[in-house]
Amino acid sequence: MGKLFKFHTDVDTDQIIASQYLLFPTIEEMKSHTFESLDPSFASQVQPGDFVVAAENFGCGSSREQAPSVLKALGVKAVVAKSFARIFYRNAINIGLPVIVCKELYDHVEDGEEMELSLTEGTATVHGQTFSCTKLNPYMQNILNQGGLLASLNREEA
């Protein structure tokens, strides 16, 4: 179980992590600024195992991999959205952050509710109601299962 943090449609990568923090030396130094413009308390409130829930086109805008990386570094277990912008989606899978497309969930949940996610079943459960999520493309699922693209690269080149 984890708490869900609910965001709107078209959340762009500048809102996830703003430009002025991107050249900080490490993700660890950036992560306290996650979602700063939308919810300044997010980075201090979120706990490992919590979820980000959003509507359409989550992660639109820049290709900054810092966006999924700060979420992962804060312990966000998965992002569940109606749809994702493609670069964010690909980056998240590459770093091993599950990004789950679920069309129905968003309209039936409130910010702060407890949620359970089964990656193997492809379901999300909130206040007893279970929503089915779209299965990942097998190629991408395989990257995620290996722990991300670099883990799979290290394995290929072992």
């Binding site: 430009s19 050249l23 639109c60 493609r86």
Partner: protein, 420 residues
Amino acid sequence: MGMTLAEKIIASAAGVESVRPGDIHTVELDLLMSNDGTTHLTIDMYHKLRHPHIADVNKLVWIVDHNMPSDSPKTAASQKKMRDFAKENGIPFYEGKGVCHQIMMENHVRPGQLIFGADSHTCAYGALGAFGTGVGCTDYLYAMVTGKSWVLVPESLKFNLTGKLNHGVTARDLILTIIGRIGANGANYKAMEFSGEGLKTLTMSDRIAVCNLCVEAGAKTALMEADEVALDYLSSRGRTPKAVFHADEDAAYAQTYEVNLSEIVPVVAKPHFVDQVVPAAECLGTHIDEAFLGSCNNGRIEDLRAAAAILKGRKVADTVRFLVVPASGEIYRQALEEGLLTTFMEAGAIVMNANCSVCWGSCQGVIGEGETLISTGTRNFKGRAGHPGSFVYLASAETVTASAIAGEITTADRLPKREG
């Protein structure tokens, strides 16, 4: 069934006869561009690999352009890491020479190539018939080490351009209008292909402006056939195509849009989204504090010439900081030789070094709470140019310049006549 431009380039890079949307292919990459926005993280990950190595150093191009020159000790450290690594490994490296995509267009991109750039506006390379797409640093690193990557073949949208842009209307107005029409995710996961008689009327600078902004509709890439205009530009720069592809007559498109260029009017994208596009006429009188002419979208010599022609004999409003930032060092020098920089300075504009500047809101010209910027940059997201409580309007070089003179949003044809 025939193939679209995107499908042809992927098939070529994958070494297969044909591809279909939804297929995943392993492709050989031609070029890998990375800038100071993420390269320091790529290098950290590189050093953690079990067998760190570079497949082909000559496919890499590294460019420091985002926070150029650096604005803080932290930035300086990240850029030093990039500079040192490039030097140690013999990676082609630019610093202070301009915005990455402009440098790539001037010096590297060739028709028919498949290019990954660790920057979302890499789709600009479609103006030369190359498949450019933005990636994060993990994708970049994988490609840097293996020379390859995986690509999901996108569906293509066709934009059939007819007619000709009217005087005072620009390619910037055209692409903003298209993004307004299809929405911020209207081309998500898709390729945007531009063709038709109207395309022939667009200059290289126009084409770069159009392709560059397509990611703001979510596009994976933007493509134009490399015709005479593109090939002339290429040969003037001493380069030859890798391959010139033509979309097949019977290629399948997810959707076709008809766009009559003569119907486009000057527009602005209102805060806080690139698809919030309205005719500029609807925003007349909106107070501005700062104006920005520059970026990979609109900092070329043609944009500077258009701005200087409007500014000549006029002054920037006392209440406005007008930042003029050529997109590359080469453009800067050309503007200097043509006397444009004198015109800007006499009018009270601030001419700055070639870099990403306030388009990315971290380096120079950052605006404060409650302030409003009108910009030729790529994005107007909340806080994009500085404080989350500031506002960014996107418009053409002409509209930005006219607004800088008026101190409020206006178009060039609405300015009072010059004195004398």
